[in-house]
Amino acid sequence: MDEVADASDSDGYLTEDSGCPDAGESETGKTLEDEIASSTYSAQNEKIHADLAIQKKKLDRLKKKDPEFSKFLESFNNSAETFKNEDEYSDEGDSSDQEQGDNDLNKDKGKLLTNSVINTWCQMVKEDHSQSALISLLNAYRSACHYGTESIGHTIENSETFCNILLFTLSNANDIFRGLLKMSSLKSTKETLQELKKAATWNSLKPLVKSFVRSTLFLLNQVTNTDILTFAMTRLRACLIFFLAFPSLMQRFIKATVHLWATGERPLSSASYLVTWDIAAMFSSNYLDTCLSKVLVAFVSRSGVTEIVDIKHMQFLRDCIVELCSIDVQKSSIKAVASISQLAKLYSWGVQTKKKEAVRKICSWEYVNCVDLWVRFISANISDYDLQSLFFMTIQLINGLAYMFPGPRYFPLRLKCIGWLNYLAHSGRSFIPLASLVLDILEYNIGKEGRKAQNAINIASVLKLPKQYIKSKSFQDECFHSAIEQLALHFAQWSHHICFPDLATIPLIRLRKIHEITTIESLRRMVKRLIDQVEQNVDFVQKKRDEVSFSPHDHQSVDSFLQLEKSSLNAPFTQYYRSVLEKAAERNLHKCGKISLPKQRNLKRNRTEPRKEPVAAEVDHPMVENGVADAKRKKRVTKVQ
């Protein structure tokens, strides 16, 4: 097919018919722009302009004074010019796509695009389905996309024109192309592609589509403003099918999309994610592979970058990946196994050698986020698929992690591990003993008389506690609260199991001891409350089970024990547990007010009902955008300054 042609970057320019109305008279739009123009650059420009004038004047004077100098200067300039040109060519050889196209385009350079022209074209395209107008429009679109990097194609008169071109093309490209191709369905699936390729007009339209795709790709890579990108992404979601026709461009498109997904702000990220999802879910499965691996890489590198993590965003990314993975659990579970065994290898290396480097690698956000990701993946799918081995491996790994770092500085990591285990236990409906892990944390705190709290610390945002916090009261509080929450969660899972009294025996003994030794009154009360609740539940279950007549080997009856009560949600322990969660949420809310770091503890609420709840993307995210600062593309900036 035409894959070879796709790969070449040569052309996006379309030869135009002369049939459509060309340049209209240029209405001076200058006035309009001067009003808006207020960027930092314009001020700078003015200054430079002034400087330039002075310098020029000086030079002219010199030239006048000494005609021989001007001759000398000329000869010098010539030599310098050639040198410079060589330089530039070697510099930009690979960065620009349109090098070859330059020459034949130069002839069109002079064409000025005005608003009226664009409007006429749009009109023609929309109403008459005029192909020639479409070509012109696409050329205009192309120059708009490339605007600022290379002066190719047409000159755009003013900002309004620029906006019109981009908005119109992006919004209507899908309809126009579909209309021209006379495609029936609005859906984009694999079959649609076949249909598209069979369409009679496809061959004639192909270059147009390609030009559009290519220009769009360029736009995505150039623009940095979130709104523009979000807009583009939402519109592009509809015309994915056209991208699909060009596999090599598709790859680049995926790359760009994934990048935007990982780095962009929330709305942009969501939009990009939707596009990725569509690509992965609707089209052939090899795109799923590419998407998955690209997304995973982006995720890991992202978690490496954000050391002081934007937890919310990372959670969003993680949920996205989990959903992507869930498209084809078979495939992604292979990936998960590979990833987990990689992590496990790193872990056992760390355990054996005890090297600092290994420890640093393990106690990093990359590692933790990876584990987190797979935990979510497993718990999302374990009820529908057989993921036992993956489930088992992950638990082993987490258990190892929890015991690898015994010191109090690693409590945040440990709490994370406990959280994962709880989460897995809930979703997998299996028993994971974690009481001793939690109790260790509770016991450690005792007797450590903390100093006055400095800053409040959010343990969700760290893995290893900074030294100065270790004895702070806030940290102690935080640990205590989280540990109690986790223990309550653990008990809540089995609160109606027939062996709850036995499960609670050892923890109760230890909790009583903790209660005895704890000096801080608030914490003491909390422990006391937990003890009371657990004891109450123990009595309750004990009484109930004294009444039954079946034996332990009668599994069915055991499983049905107290199921009725469990579903009623009115059992005392369930209520207690709910109150604990509410308090935790409240506490977090309170803390969020105090700490600037964002924090999502309502996540814990989700844990109560392991049945996944759609993670709503917040769209009402405040768009604090500084378009000026945003648009400073790095390349530009370095060039300019």
């Binding site: 808006i36 123009a37 960027s39 430079i48 330039l52 010199l62 000398f72 300039n77 605007y147 600022g148 900002s159 906006c163 981009l166 403003n225 709104d227 523009i228 979000t230 807009f231 939402t234 969501s270 994610y273 999802w277 959903e323 869930s326 498209i327 196994v337 290898k345 056992s348 529908d384 057989d386 081995s389 088992f392 491996m393 082993q396 258990n399 190892g400 236990a425 028993f431 994971i432 003993p433 001793s436 260790d440 027939i498 036995d502 499960l503 025996t505 050892i506 923890p507 003994i509 230890r510 007549s549 034996s551 080997h553 599994h555 996944k612 759609p614 955008e625 000026v628 060039k639 300019v640």
Partner: protein, 818 residues
């Protein structure tokens, strides 16, 4: 050969001064002349031009070469990468005779260049020599540097003769030092080979080698020590050398014997000096490791030879060294002594053990655990009964004294009984010879071995009991301990040792020992009951070990003693609750399960039930490895105690077997009072939901054990094995069952997955078009501004450049006009 040539080197002539500016000007001049041919003749123009050019270039090169020579010498002290530079430095031009401006020809330069190279190479090879780190040399080098700097200065002042000579002198000195050490090394090698080739005739060399190893140079000393070690290891005979007494010396002997005597005495004295030197050197940190290594090797290789005592003393002293390498070496050596008793007949073992006992005593039990750990590798022959030992001891002593007498007496015997005496003498000599032979070959008689063994044992137990007593002293741990956690560093290996050698303990001590252990096992409880500071804190692992040891002791003595172990079991029952994974050693716990529960022969239903219940509860709280160990023990117990299988049934009201206590008391501290028989093992149901498949399966297998039919269950794993297996697995991550088996079969097909994230937000409407329009406009303007900015900047740059060029232009013009 290098030296000779250097003597011939003439001082180099200073290159003529050629200021660079002049050269440049002269270029211009030439141009000028070229342009205005009328001013000068064509021939002269061409001549001067080429000559000047040629000469200046050469002169330049000369200057560079000279400077680089000095520079090189400086630099080569700092970095050893001179070779390439030197290679570059050798200009082919230099290989030819050079004519300077004043018309003199230089041939010498050619010889000088390679010379310098050679020097530098030598310097390199020497400084690269590993292990050549010594203070004196560094000082020397520093001096050289200084001198060279001076030399350079002087050269600049155009004093040419002296610096060259000085530099040469220094180099020579350096060379001689290097050569000396080099020659010493060779000498060592030569002497060593000669000694190894023919020790008898070359024994004198050994003194020379000793002399060499007294050198000031550390590297030489180390080499000397090492080569001496090799030599001694090889030539030391398989017997102990006894220097001839004066009487013996007076006796006439054959030449061969004389030679032999000389050889032996030389060897002995040299060996003595060597050992003394080693012992002295191990105090110095520089030589510590080498000396210790030599000592250890010697001790391991020739423990039968003279001066073993000093070797042993030195090695044992280092057995608890802070230096890991040293400590490990010493421990290994001592262990090899213990295991290869054939080499020294056990003598060394006794001595070593005694020394260790002394060491422990001297340091008040605050040593590295390794120092007691080595005692575990002792092996005792159980066939040699202990009670006979005193007899054997006295007998051997008698024998020995008799022998002595026999040796001294023969001359005082009257003549008339000569024949008889002669006969006796003959027989006596034979006896003597055989005794000597025995002594030499160390084919011991059992009595001797018995004596040695009993001495060793008593020393070992002395050490062990000392450590136990120390651990029992209240308050001591808090005061003297170097670290809070390791206040009883020796306790663990000591308990292991007692466990291992428990069958050898004298029955008289038994009661005492048990009392000790009981107290230690219960020490944690006391600390809770009383205030914290009053008693020594033992860790859970240590207390568990005490319980284990008590059981082991009892078992090994065939329960000869009627001591009730009930108390230990009670302790254990409570200790289980104090176990913390990560902090305490799971292996010890698993071992305790095995020794105290699985191997225990006593059957007490009430107690067994209590333990079963507790272990089941325990396995609900801890990791998979611990759970597994506990469950394996539960299985064992259930197999042995048929009646306990009632726990598996839910008999209303505790059933017929329920004891005095009708209701289960989970928090009771005494297993006999827990009333566990009334409980039901509901834990198994939860354990069947355990994430670990192995735990799952064992739980279900336990739950299906039957009360009614008394079938025999075979289980081959001990709790310890089970624990190790799982904890290993946890470390290596071998998933149980291959991963492929558990391929992901789809349980429920759902083809169309709804998009959950972000689907509910209609992004189409979300992004306001006007907003985008505005942003786009801003974007456009910004881009335009940037473009503008760029353009302006380049314009500005060009203009400024032009202005700057004007300056240049003016200068040039001025020059032209001048």
């Amino acid at each position: 050969m290098g030296k000779k040539k250097q003597k011939l080197v003439l001082p180099p002539e200073l290159p003529p001064e050629v200021p660079e500016e002049e050269v440049e000007v002269s270029d211009e001049d030439v141009q000028f002349v070229k342009e205005n041919l009328e001013y000068a003749g064509f021939v002269s123009n061409l001549d001067t031009h080429s000559i000047t050019k040629h000469v200046t270039r050469v002169a330049d090169a000369n200057e560079e070469a000279l400077e680089s020579l000095y520079e090189k010498r400086l630099r080569k002290k700092l970095e050893n990468k001179e070779k390439e530079q030197n290679a570059l430095e050798v200009d082919p031009v230099d290989a030819l005779p050079v004519k300077t401006l004043d018309g003199q020809l230089y041939y010498r330069r050619v010889t000088k260049e390679p010379k310098a190279e050679e020097e530098s190479k030598e310097g390199e090879s020497i400084s690269k020599d590993p292990g050549l780190v010594k203070l004196t040399k560094a000082e020397k080098r520093a001096k050289h540097k200084k001198l060279r700097k001076e030399a350079k200065k002087q050269a600049k002042e155009e004093v040419q003769q002296t610096p060259q000579a000085e530099v040469l002198d220094e180099v020579k000195k350096d060379l001689t030092a290097e050569e000396a050490s080099e020659s010493k090394k060779y000498k060592l090698a030569e002497l060593g080979t000669a000694l190894l080739a023919d020790p008898e005739s070359n024994i004198k060399h050994i003194k020379e080698m000793l002399e060499i190893s007294k050198d000031g140079d550390a590297a030489i000393v180390i080499l000397g020590l090492k080569s001496l070690l090799a030599v001694f290891k090889d030539i030391i005979p398989g017997y102990r050398i006894r220097l001839p007494t004066e009487k013996e010396q007076e006796m006439k002997v054959s030449k061969a014997v004389k030679k032999m005597r000389f050889y032996e005495s030389t060897l002995l004295s040299a060996y003595k000096a060597y050992v003394q030197k080693l012992v002295a050197l191990q105090q110095q940190p520089v030589y510590k490791r080498v000396a210790v290594r030599c000592l250890c090797t010697l001790l391991a290789a020739v423990p039968h030879f003279n001066f073993r005592e000093s070797l042993l003393a030195a090695v044992v002293k280092n057995i608890s060294s802070d230096d890991d390498v040293v400590r490990k070496l010493c421990c290994e050596t001592v262990m090899s002594l213990f295991s290869n008793e054939g080499k020294h007949g056990g003598e060394a073992t006794v001595e070593a053990v005694k020394m260790i006992a002394e060491l422990v005593k001297a340091h008040n039990c605050q040593l590295h655990p390794d120092s007691v750990e080595v005692l575990l590798s002792l092996s005792f022959d159980e066939d040699l009964g202990k009670p006979e030992n005193p007899d054997a001891d006295s007998r051997t002593k008698n024998k020995k004294s008799k022998k002595r007498k026999g040796l001294d007496e023969p001359n005082h015997i009257p003549d008339n009984e000569r024949k008889k005496i002669r006969k006796e003498m003959i027989s006596k000599t034979r006896e003597e010879v055989s005794a000597d032979f025995k002594a030499a070959s160390y084919a011991q008689d059992p009595q001797e071995r018995r004596r040695v063994q009993s001495e060793t044992l008593s020393a070992v137990f002395q050490t062990f009991f000392r450590i136990l007593k120390h651990a029992m002293q209240p308050g001591l741990g808090a005061n003297t301990a170097p670290g809070a956690s390791g206040s009883h560093p020796l306790l663990a290996p000591c308990l292991n040792g007692i466990g291992k050698f428990s069958h050898l303990i004298d029955l008289d001590f038994m009661a005492d020992l048990m009392r000790c252990l009981r107290k230690l096992a219960g020490s944690g409880i006391q600390s809770v009951d009383l205030s914290e500071n009053s008693s020594c804190q033992l860790t859970v692992s240590e207390r568990l070990r005490c319980c284990i040891v008590a059981f082991k002791v009892m078992k090994n003595n065939l329960d000869a003693l009627n001591i009730d172990l009930q108390e230990f079991l009670v302790q254990f029952y409570n200790l289980i609750l104090e176990y913390h994974p990560g902090r305490d050693q799971g292996e010890v716990l698993a071992e305790a399960f095995k020794i105290m529960l699985c191997d225990d022969r006593q059957h007490d239903m009430q107690r067994a039930a209590a333990f079963i219940k507790r272990l089941a509860t325990f396995s609900l709280c801890f990791g998979s490895a611990e759970s597994m160990a506990a469950l394996v023990s539960v299985k064992h117990l259930l197999q042995k105690n048929v009646k306990c299988r009632n726990l598996l049934e839910n008999d209303a009201g505790g059933g017929s077997v329920a004891g005095a206590i009708a209701k289960y008391q989970p928090y009771a501290t005494d297993p006999n009072r827990s009333g566990a028989l009334a409980s039901v093992l509901w834990e198994l149901n939860l354990l069947m939901k355990h994430y670990h498949p192995a735990v799952c399966s064992i739980a279900s297998s336990i739950s299906t054990m039957n009360t009614s039919n008394n079938q025999v269950y075979h289980s081959h794993v001990s709790p310890l094995q089970a624990y190790m297996e799982l904890s290993q697995e946890n470390k290596s991550f071998t998933a149980p069952g291959d991963i492929k088996r558990a391929s992901n079969k789809r349980k429920r097909g759902n083809d169309t997955l709804p998009v959950k994230i972000g689907s509910d937000l209609n992004l189409m409407d979300q992004v306001d078009e006007n907003e985008v329009r505005k942003k786009l406009a801003e974007h456009f303007l910004l881009l335009r501004d940037i473009q503008e900015n760029e353009k302006l900047r380049s314009e500005l740059d060009r203009t400024t450049l032009a202005l700057n060029l004007y300056e240049h232009y003016k200068k040039q013009k001025k020059r032209k006009t001048r």
